[in-house]
């Protein structure tokens, strides 16, 4: 895919509300990616976690600090694995965030409901640890509205991180 310098309408909306979080995705959310994510997260077929490992490793080899978006403890219990850690587990990750339980998973909400989801991320490490790196890349599997990633970014900034933050998702 050829990167362009133009912003999509979604990003422009976020830009109007504050600073933009730069996100790159490896795939678009088409029928086959939908089927893949259903088998991986929906059915819980953990074997699929290695499917994109080569691509992901090549893409993130030179990134500074990789912070995965954590899954809710309840989801982990149900699935028996963390989908994000499964996908990006081949790299050195820094589990600096924790998520508290929300009433419903994002996947079951409408777009408007998703955008209204309150902040549920906590930063687990002190400010000094955060600021030992200059750049953080947030990692997630699927970018839909951006709500989750923006919350994660805001939590890191609120905890005192002074560097730059961008994001990479498998699918958008």
């Amino acid at each position: 895919m050829q990167p362009t310098e133009q912003l999509c309408s979604d990003c422009r909306k976020w830009e109007r509300q504050g600073t933009l979080l730069h996100n790159r995705a490896l795939f678009t959310y088409d029928a086959s990616m939908k089927a893949w994510i259903y088998q991986y997260k929906g059915l819980g077929d953990y074997r699929l976690h290695v499917a994109f490992q080569d691509l992901i490793a090549a893409r993130l080899r030179h990134a500074s600090a990789l912070v995965p978006i954590p899954s809710e403890p309840k989801h982990f219990e149900l699935r028996g694995f963390d989908p994000i850690l499964g996908l990006f587990g081949c790299l050195r990750l820094r589990s600096w965030l924790r998520k508290t339980a929300t009433e419903r998973p994002q996947a079951q909400k409408t777009r408007q409901e998703r955008l209204k989801t309150p902040q549920s991320f906590h930063v687990l490490v002190p400010e000094q640890t955060l600021n030992r790196v200059r750049q953080i890349t947030l990692l997630d599997d699927l970018y839909t509205t951006g709500r989750t990633l923006y919350h994660a970014r805001d939590a890191l900034v609120a905890a005192g991180f002074k560097g730059t933050i961008d994001a990479l998702t498998l699918i958008r």
């Binding site: 059915l43 819980g44 953990y46 028996g80």
Partner: protein, 420 residues
């Protein structure tokens, strides 16, 4: 709700709102057998570890994941018959068909498994009717299954007509629903939701994808059976042929119901480098000639992406055409339109190699040397032609740029079957 014979998971029971699980035998979903995990639903021995220490079965995961902490609920109570099994089909069987049907009945009565090895278009379905009727009349329960959805779609109306007074359940994909009828028509996968439930299981097109190369589906048949299993195919694989020496009953039928021989394929060598962007002139000429004889044309291609591309090329030539593949959500509609002759040419992948009967239909295979076309596939494909008594000699052409063993074996076997 009558759940006799069902083998269900916790979420499936919750979905059905079943409260009374007292009659169910509860077994762990995965058991450790000589140090290896084994799935009790599909019997496969390939469970995979999860990061939290649990194990799950990847083979049958599409029916809902089972881990070693889950349970299976087996309802072993006897099935309550609901239909009378009266045969409302009043056709007559040819002497060959009758002999095959009698042999099947004898095998089933003796509790033996049976292979019906019949050429494409022999009238296999009709041969089943007497035995299926007898089983249901004796309060038995019957499942007709196939690895191919299209085969089940094709069979369903024929069974509904033949057993008009017997409730029939047709099931492919989707969830488990109430299945208390005496006759189930379903894809083989669905048998994983039953345990020792059927007195007769008929597996149509047993050597077709995905059953070839998926032992789990053969296990699904084994654990859903209570009586005999009948296998139907025109191209039995090595395993089935070998089983003939070990007490598998067999009916051989090498003549079509209309008595005419199978159309023998013509192998035409030509340059296919520009396919699918462009088709050779000789191929287009052949298609036009075929259409001029009041026939429609079924064109097989080896790749999913080719189906639409070849259809586009033909459309530019002014032909009414469509492309179908397994990934096509409108597949059933397109096949229906073709059958009703609203289309001249249907371009398809091997998805339509079996079970599809269109009268007065010529068959062409583009790039027949491709690995996608095994000898069995080519025999099945050639069998789409000449299905009607008034047009038994529909042309079959394999367009290829080289000879392969599969091409020669396919042609030789068709000639052999015609000679018997």
């Amino acid at each position: 709700m009558d759940l006799a014979g069902a083998q269900l998971t916790q979420p499936e029971l919750a979905r059905l709102a079943v409260s009374n699980i007292a009659q169910a035998t509860v077994v762990p979903a995965l058991v450790k057998d000589k140090g290896h995990w084994r799935c009790q639903r599909c019997r496969s021995q390939s469970p995979v570890a999860l990061p939290d220490g649990r194990y799950y079965c990847p083979e049958c995961v599409t029916l809902g994941r089972l881990t070693d902490r889950d349970s299976l609920y087996r309802f072993v109570q006897p099935h309550q018959p609901v239909g009378d099994g009266r045969l409302t089909w009043h056709g007559t069987l040819t002497p060959d068909q009758q002999a095959a049907s009698d042999a099947l009945m004898a095998s089933v009565t003796a509790g033996r498994d049976h292979l019906i090895w019949a050429v494409t278009g022999a009238g296999k379905t009709e041969m089943l009717f007497p035995t299926v009727a007898r089983m249901i009349q004796q309060q038995g329960r019957v499942a007709i299954v196939s690895p191919r959805i299209d085969v089940i779609r094709e069979l369903a109306p024929r069974f509904r007509a033949a057993f008009a007074t017997t409730p029939i359940t047709v099931r492919y994909g989707g969830h488990f629903d109430q299945t208390d009828s005496d006759l189930l028509l379903a894809t083989v996968h669905q048998l994983l939701r039953f345990y020792q439930a059927f007195d007769l299981i008929v597996v149509d097109e047993v050597d077709a994808f995905p059953m070839n190369g998926t032992p789990m589906l053969h296990q699904a048949v084994q654990q859903a059976r209570r009586g005999s299993v009948a296998y139907l195919t025109a191209t039995p694989d090595r395993v089935l042929k070998k089983a003939l020496y070990n007490g598998l009953g067999v009916s051989r039928l090498f003549r079509r119901f209309h008595g005419h021989p199978l159309p023998v394929p013509t192998i035409r060598l030509m340059n296919l480098q520009k396919v699918p962007r462009q088709l050779p002139t000789a191929m287009i000429t052949w298609i036009r000639q075929v259409l001029a004889t009041e026939r429609v044309c079924l064109l097989f291609v080896p790749k999913i992406s080719w189906a639409e591309q070849v259809a586009d090329v033909l459309r530019q030539l002014g032909l009414k055409t469509a492309g179908v593949a397994s990934t096509d959500p409108q597949r059933a509609e397109k096949v229906m339109a073709f059958r009703q002759r609203q289309l001249d040419v249907l371009v398809t992948t091997t998805i339509l190699e079996r079970g599809v009967t269109v009268t007065q239909c010529a068959v062409g295979v583009i790039a027949a040397a491709d690995r996608e076309f095994s000898a069995a596939a080519l025999i099945q494909i050639a069998g789409r032609a000449g299905r009607a008594a008034d047009s038994p000699d529909d042309p079959v052409v394999f367009f290829t740029d080289r000879y392969t063993l599969a091409l020669l074996v396919a042609k030789r076997q068709i000639v052999m079957m015609n000679g018997r």
